[in-house]
Symmetry: D2
Subunit: 154 residues, 4 copies
Amino acid sequence: MFSYRVRVRWADTDASGRIHNTAALRYFEEAAGDLFRHLGLSLEAGLAGGLDFPRVHVECDYLLPLGFDDALEIRVFRGRVGESSFALECEGWLLEEGPWGPLLSGARGRPIPSLALRGKLVIVTVDRQKGESTRIPHELRQALEQLSSSSKPS
Amino acid sequence: MFSYRVRVRWADTDASGRIHNTAALRYFEEAAGDLFRHLGLSLEAGLAGGLDFPRVHVECDYLLPLGFDDALEIRVFRGRVGESSFALECEGWLLEEGPWGPLLSGARGRPIPSLALRGKLVIVTVDRQKGESTRIPHELRQALEQLSSSSKPS
Amino acid sequence: MFSYRVRVRWADTDASGRIHNTAALRYFEEAAGDLFRHLGLSLEAGLAGGLDFPRVHVECDYLLPLGFDDALEIRVFRGRVGESSFALECEGWLLEEGPWGPLLSGARGRPIPSLALRGKLVIVTVDRQKGESTRIPHELRQALEQLSSSSKPS
Amino acid sequence: MFSYRVRVRWADTDASGRIHNTAALRYFEEAAGDLFRHLGLSLEAGLAGGLDFPRVHVECDYLLPLGFDDALEIRVFRGRVGESSFALECEGWLLEEGPWGPLLSGARGRPIPSLALRGKLVIVTVDRQKGESTRIPHELRQALEQLSSSSKPS
């Protein structure tokens, strides 16, 4: 399990007063980037080596309303790892209410901490020259093995 | 089935040279907004009437690489409709390659037209005052019934 | 003068109920991209030819509150053209109020049409290999000359 | 002077391989939000009190190419303070190169630290009910006085 902290940014809200529905996916991506940086890896670095790592599937459940300045902990787990693709399972835990967010978002009575977001990214290794999927590089596979597998939050 | 046209915008690309993984969800949202405007409705208008329509689930499969200026047709279908929630199933069809996008994105040999995106939005009707889900308004339910149900693309 | 139509998208609003302060710059960029496509050019195509066209200055005045679904006409004019850089001056005219936007944005009593946005993009031609600015390509310079110079809206 | 740290996020890049031209304005906004939180204030909280703080002018100079994962320090200074409006002057200093960003962005030979971004936000206090500008609240004016005025970077 890997942990990343983020606050809901103003630019990530919309006129409902709450978080926009694409924001969680950006937080998951930031957490994944931070994870790989800590492992001395970078999916982006693969680009220089001729590899691409497109996200071929993204999804998120919004379990609680979230608003501006709410403090979140994003947790990243290893999902299914195949020959050329792998999944990262992500959770977003509400750790602290933004001081003003509830006034705007109407969110009330949310337990602290509580599971607010649950999602998944599926990433494929692609040989950029050939335009075809290819085996996950050894280093990346090893790094994924170090990551704890997804919890089953109840 | 409802149809909406959009080109991949420069701001929706990332340093991979292709579309960012949150962009399709914005296109689905734009298509849904356009759909409701044509039906004389607006989820956003519900806010004024005390209703919220949060997206509680979003997902997308990226079936083909997409790049700057690729022209897409977003098709919206009715998914499952329950008491207080409903799903919109969305497809994104590549209609025309951007003149320059393939140089940047590396995308080649994509048939025209072809199914590039497939996703879903699940939307709940919420009573903003009570903070609880509530029945889908009658008008909205009628509008959803006019929408053809999701195709089964093979 | 070149004209481009856009509606304020839901994803471009924030929890104030109005347009986010970066959205106009995206609209200007979309308008500029559309302009260059019509001229058979693409700043992005330059990337393939070893040229970069980074925006080295962006600015925008927000003259009127704007909200979801407000319909805008973006007008693009030629600003100052130098050896290696050029400016595009942009205006955003409110053509039609979104049917629901005013409920969320609080915007009222805005004349139609009215000038809502005024801004500028300054773009430099860069030789990507050398990392240095270089002369504006001939074709692009000709295209800029076809564009009417900036009006002086009073 | 107030300082805020941020890394260039993947979602903030575009197909040029570098930062998108709206990203700096989001960083300035985040820095300003962080500043006000530390002062026990929130522009957003004003919404609940009937005040709006729209950004009526935003601008940014991009002085250096920036790419994914570059580490920045955003510095916020007090600009001109009037009756109902005030300016925040912002700088972005490159503190550390992202390990992989230069491969994608082509940025090379940038001194560390160096001034990469310089910009400004102009914010107006608006009475939301009347839709008119109004005096800056006393608490906010005091907070602004605590902020050092803009440096003159040469």
